[in-house]
Symmetry: C2
Subunit: 332 residues, 2 copies
């Protein structure tokens, strides 16, 4: 591997001049610039960026900590992060934590050991809060929830949920089921709050029998639909905290002979690609995943460059997308 010294020797110049020719060519005479270029080509010189980083003590890298990379929502978010990072000359190091504390810590340590300049956390969780609070670790939490400490980017989960449920109310529904995410997931709390607010605004009493705890995934949606079907006074509409559960619920209802939206309406959350593919197409809430990623990356890079963001909590607009899985109430 040719080094800058080899190039200098070949060009008959000093390493300092070659270095300058690379970083600020305009400050080197045209003649010498050409000599350097020729030498570089001849020796196939490639600067050792590992050395450069070491010297500048800047990794030019940000770590993205993601609970599960095989999740479309996170994938889009990451895509947004990449857009901005690339632009700013940063590499993106992907950290799939698989939900283990051990791995979360390993990634935080990468920042502490200077392998990365900062970190974007894609999962607000109690467990990693102390990690992110470690001094010298710059971080941004993306897709956060209310009261996330530090700099964060999110949508207003409560308002989004309220909007969805209000829409059901407007169509005449009064028995509205809720399928939540995992109880200890912070998004669950925010969205449930919105659900309750919508009911209250409509003067509908909260009925615990209509709330079923899920885990955001397919089977819990199926199971919720089964439970709802067996209820004497079953709901005419169901709000699910994820598209995956919503799609599963539609299937679950179908298995019990209930048609969506004729017999029961269903709303999801996330607007995953699939939401457009299923029959009926799914009414849902779209999070601007890519935009959230972009904003998070900007905020992190801003911090890396020594600026403290003026606003700590960034709330981006969500979108309520009406498709075919919701209809007016239509009870016997």
């Amino acid at each position: 591997m040719a080094t800058i010294r080899d190039v200098a020797k070949e060009a008959g110049l000093s390493t300092g001049t070659v270095s300058k020719a690379l970083s600020t060519p305009e400050k080197v005479s045209a003649k010498n610039r050409l000599k350097v270029e020729a030498a570089i080509k001849k020796l196939k010189y490639k600067p050792n960026l590992l050395a450069r980083r070491f010297r500048s003590s800047r990794a030019n890298t940000i770590v993205v900590m993601v609970p599960d990379i095989a999740n479309l929502f996170f994938a889009k978010l990451i895509s947004g992060i990449e857009n901005v990072a690339q632009q700013a000359g940063f590499n993106v190091l992907l950290g799939d934590t698989k939900d283990t504390f051990e791995r979360e810590e390993a990634f935080v340590r990468m920042v502490e050991t200077r392998l990365a300049d900062g970190l974007i956390n894609l999962r607000p969780s109690r467990s990693c809060e102390p990690l992110l609070a470690r001094e010298g670790v710059l971080s941004v939490t993306a897709s956060s929830c209310e009261n996330t400490p530090g700099v964060s980017v999110r949508i207003d989960n409560a308002a989004a949920a309220e909007k969805a449920v209000s829409y059901l109310v407007k169509l005449g529904h009064r028995r509205i089921g809720l399928v939540t995410g995992l109880k200890d997931n912070p998004h669950t709390a925010d969205r449930q709050k919105g659900y309750c607010q919508a009911l209250q605004a409509a003067g509908i009493e909260f009925d615990p029998a209509l709330v079923i705890e899920g885990d955001f995934n397919f089977w819990s949606g199926i199971s919720a639909a089964e439970q709802f079907s067996q209820l004497a006074d079953r709901p005419t509409a169901v709000f699910c905290m994820s598209d995956e559960m919503a799609i599963a619920a539609i299937k679950g209802f179908a298995d019990r002979g209930l048609k969506v939206p004729e017999d029961v309406s269903v709303i999801g959350f996330d607007d995953m690609e699939v939401a457009r593919y299923v029959t009926p197409t799914l009414t849902t809430i779209a999070q601007p995943a890519e935009k959230i990623g972009e904003r998070a990356a900007s905020l992190l890079i801003e911090q890396i460059n020594g600026h403290t963001p003026a606003i700590r909590e960034h709330v981006l607009p969500y979108e309520f997308i009406i498709r075919d899985s919701v209809g007016p109430v239509n009870r016997m």
Copy 2:
């Protein structure tokens, strides 16, 4: 930031001894080891891994070049890569190329500039072959196709397609439609070969009218179904080269009043999560995505460690998954 020198001073030892205490503690006297540990704790010393990498001229990093990160198949593959990389002490740098040559080159350059030790390519394409062939760039192609140069990992696409089509033949189908991927995608060729082989084995003549070019994505599946529906002698079964197109085709047929599998059978390819969610559930071919990723990572790390893999072309087993979207032929 405390350096190893600060620790040495604090402990009243030399940097060399501290260094040894970190890498090979057993070669340092117990007394001094304790001194070092105390100093580290007191100063909150964290080794500068940037410096370590520079010195060892090993980035301990592999780049994964992916055409589109918002694709479940790739996500799973990456997950497999991460498993192995993490284990071996390597970081995974994600490179979403967004299908541009410019970005592909940027990632290859990372290896040349020593920011990464090697590269895993998740998309076999003519365009990047010369890039990967650059000397000094170690690479593995994952999810490759026949005749991919260099070290590669894949399933036998032709055999998988043949298996799927033979299955349709066995159920009495003789007019079997094919929805391909993009013409210049190498997987398309392999899978079409399998389709033709199956027809030939059954003595069915190849009919170009039954082959429609798609692009692996949703809309091309819809459009293919429409075209098939209008055929005077429409196919009784359709093999699609991706699940997404297959699911779309089912929807497209439904829109034309054709039921799956009663009126027409449909098979997909990939076994994406969705395949289990749609109605009817989708018969398809599963690629061992995670395993492919793991194998690719192992092969790359093997090369980084200076060993040349004995086998260059690794073909992993696929799985044919029978669900509800295929039935026996049932023609008027």
